[in-house]
C-alpha cells in the first residue's frame, strides 16, 4: 500500500494502530512463552514463571527506556540492544541446530539427524517388515483419490521399506478403504496391535501392526484418517468375514 503512515499528535509520534499492533504482538509473545515453556518442561508452574519473568523483563526495559529517554540517550542504547538481540537470536538458533536437542536418534550424518521423525518411523517400519512379503490393497498401490495425503505417505514409506522386505504383491481382490465399522473392529483389538505413530493428534499418520512379527505375509490396508494397518492374513480374514 502506497499510503504514508499517519502521524499522531501525541508525544511518542506513534499512531494508535502501531500501539495496537505492538500490544497484540506482546500478547502473542506472552502466550507463546507460556506454551513454549509448558511443552518444553512439561510444567504449568514453570510456564507461569516464564510469563512472569517476561513481564518483569518488560517492566525493567520500560523503566530503562524512560530513564534513557530523559537523558536523550535512548537511540544509541536501543541500537545496541536490538543488535545484541539479533545476534543472540542467530547464535541461539545456531546452537539449537547443533545441539543434541534435535538428535534423538543415533545417526551422525549432519543433515539426516535433523529429521528424526520420518527416519524413526522408517526404521520402525523396516524393523517390523524386514524379510516379509507385503500384500498391498490396490488402493495403496494405485493411490486412489479418496485420501490424498495418506497415499503420499503410504507411497513414501513403502519406498523406504522396499529394500528390507522380501517382495511386494497386490491383493487379487481389492478390499478398499476401511469403513468406520472396520476401524472400530480393528481398534477394538488393542491387545493384538502395536501402534507406531509420529502424530497421535487425531490419529493421523499412525501405523497399526497386528501381530505381524511372526507372520511371513503382511496385508497392508488403510483407513480414512491417514492410518495404515498392517496385519496377518488371519486378521485380514477375520475382517473380511464381517458384513460390510
Amino acid at each position: 500500500m502506497d499510503n504514508k503512515r499517519k502521524k499522531s499528535n501525541d508525544k511518542t509520534g506513534l499512531t494508535p494502530a502501531r500501539w495496537i499492533l505492538a500490544g497484540a504482538l506482546f500478547l502473542f509473545l506472552l502466550a507463546g512463552t507460556y506454551t513454549y515453556v509448558f511443552y518444553t518442561l512439561n510444567s504449568a508452574k514453570w510456564a507461569m514463571l516464564g510469563v512472569l519473568a517476561l513481564l518483569a523483563v518488560t517492566a525493567v526495559i520500560a523503566a530503562i527506556v524512560m530513564i534513557l529517554k530523559k537523558k536523550a540517550k535512548l537511540n544509541k542504547a536501543l541500537k545496541w540492544v536490538l543488535l545484541s538481540a539479533a545476534l543472540g537470536a542467530v547464535l541461539f538458533n545456531a546452537y539449537l541446530l547443533n545441539s543434541s536437542y534435535f538428535v534423538p536418534h543415533n545417526t551422525t550424518t549432519v543433515f539426516n539427524r535433523y529429521f528424526p521423525v520420518s527416519l524413526e518411523t522408517s526404521v520402525k517400519l523396516q524393523e517390523y517388515l524386514a524379510g516379509k512379503t507385503l500384500i498391498l490393497d490396490p488402493t495403496v498401490t494405485y493411490f486412489d483419490r479418496e485420501d490424498d495425503q495418506l497415499s503420499a505417505i503410504a507411497h513414501s514409506y513403502m519406498a523406504s521399506v522396499k529394500s528390507s522386505v522380501k517382495s511386494i504383491q497386490t491383493l487379487e481382490e481389492p478390499y478398499g478403504f476401511l469403513t468406520d465399522d472396520d476401524l472400530a473392529f480393528l481398534k477394538a483389538k488393542t491387545d493384538e496391535y502395536e501402534m507406531v505413530s509420529w502424530d497421535y493428534y487425531r490419529e493421523i499418520n499412525a501405523y497399526f501392526f497386528y501381530n505381524v512379527m511372526d507372520s511371513d505375509d503382511v496385508i497392508v490396508l488403510w483407513g480414512r484418517q491417514m492410518c495404515m494397518f498392517f496385519m496377518t492374513p488371519e486378521t485380514f480374514a477375520e475382517l473380511k468375514e464381517r458384513p460390510r
Binding site: L25, L29, G32, L87, N93, F102, N112, F115, W198
Partner: protein, 532 residues
Amino acid sequence: MTKKRPILTGFLIWIAAITAMTVFGLYMTSVADKTEQIGTAVGENFNANAVKQTLSIVVLYLMGWVVLWPFRSRLGQTQVYLLSFLVGLLVFELISSLIIILIVRYTYLAVMAVYLAVVVVLYWRAAHRGEAEALWFKKSEGWMFVLWLTGTAAAAAMLSFVPMDVLSFDSVEYMGLGKMYASQGFIRDYFIYQVSGHPFVPTLINSIAAFFGFDYAYAIQNLFLVMCTLLFGYHIRDEIRRMGFDDRKALGLSALATGLLGVNFFYLFLGICLVPNLFAAYTLFFAAVYMYRYSRDEKPADVALSFFFMAAFCFSRVEGPLLAAVFMAYFAHTKIENKHLLYYTGGLFIIVALWYVSFYIQSPAGFNGQFLTVGRSMLVAAAYLIIGLYIFLKDKFFSQYNRILFGLFMGALMLGAVGLSVMDMGKLIINLKAMYQNIFYYGYWKVTWLAVAGFGIAAALVSKKKEMFLEWLIPIFLLMMLILFAIRSSTLHIYWSDSGNRMLMHIYPFCVFVLTLNILSAFAPENSKQGS
C-alpha cells in the same frame, strides 16, 4: 570515489571460499561414509550420480546466465550471477510446463529448442534496441564470469557429493512424477499416480534428473535454497544501503538478517527436505520484492523478474494461481502504474487459463483433484478477469477513492476468511489449535515466532519507514491461509509435517525482511539527518 578491490584479492578470496567448501564437503562425506549413509537415496552408482548432477547444475547456471546477460547493465553483475542458477532452473521448468501444457512430446531436445528460440528473441530484441555491443564480453567481465562459474560449480560439486539425501514423502512423490513425465513424454500417467495436484515447479527438477541421467535431484534443490538465501541477502543489503548506511555496515547488518533467516531449523528443514515449500516461498517472495522495487524505481527489468517469479509461483503449488490473483488485487491499490498491472494480470490469466484447459483436456473423464476441480479452476480463472476489469475501471473512474477501496478489499478478504471458516467451526477450532501448537512447539519452529513477535514489537514502535508495500502482504497471506484451509477437505494437524507449518514458511522470509528494514529505518543515517 570508492576504492575498487584488486582482481587478485577477489581471486584469492574466491580460492579460499572454494577450498573451504571442498574441505567441508570432504569432511561431511567422510562422516557419512562411516555411518554408511551415502547413497541411500541417490542410487547405486553414487559417484556417477554426483558428477552428473554437478554437470546438470552447471548447465542450468549457464542457461540462466545466457538469458540474463543482455540485462546486466540494468540488473548489475552481482545480481545477474546470483540469479543465474535460479533463472536457469525456472526457465527450464517453465518451458517444460509449456511443452506439457501444449501436449508436445516432452524431451530434453524439445526444451532446449524452445530455450534457444527464447534466447534468440531476447538477443535479437537487445540488438534491435541498439544494444548489440552490450551483448559482448568486456575484458573486465571475463574474470567475474570465471570466478562465479567456478564458485557455483564448486558449490554444486560439494552439494552433490555430500549426501544430504533426506527423503520426505513429498520428495518421493515428486521424484516419481518428475521421472514419469520425462520418460513418458506427457502427463497422461500423472492421473494414475497423482495424489493431490502436485504442481510442476518442484516436480520437474526430477525430470531434469532423468534427462541428465542421475537418480535424485537433491543437490539442485539444495543449491536453490543456497542461491535464494544469498539473493535474499543481496536484496536486504541493497535496501540497507539505500537507507544511507555505508557499505561496511550494510554488509554486516544484511549478514545478520540473513543469518536470522538461515539458521532457523524449520527453514533448513523445509529447504532441504520438502521441496515444494522452498519453491513456493521463494518464488512468491521474489515476485513481491521485485514488484516492490518496481513500484519504487519503475525499472522494467524489475517488473519482468516479478512476473517471471509469479508465473513460477503459479506452478509451485496448486493454490498458487488463486494466491497470485489476490496479490494482483492488492497491487491494484499500490502506486504501480495500472497499464503494467493489466499486462501482468493478463499474462498470468493466459498462463493459468492455458494450464487449466490443457489439464482438463488431458485428464480422464470425471477426474477431480483435491484443489484442481473444474469449478475451482473456473473460479480462479474468472478471478483474473474480474481483477483485470477492476484495475481498468478503478484507473478510469475511481482512482481518487484508493484508500476506501483498499479498505473494502481488506474487509472483503476478512469477511471471506471469517465466513468460510465459521461454516465449519469444528474444523476451524482444530486448525487454529494445531497451528498455535505448531508455532510454539510441535512444528520445530522453536523460538522463531517468539523472536518475530519480540522484534515485531520493536519494529512497530521504532519504525520510521514511510511506506508499507511488503508489510501488507503478511496479513493478506495469513487471511488467505485461513481461506485455503477452510476450502480444503482435511484439517491441520500437529507436528512438523503439517501443511500449516509449511505455509507459514512462505511468509517467514517476508517477516525477516520487513522487520529488519522497519527496525533499521529508525537508525538510518538519512532519518537521523532529518531528525536533527
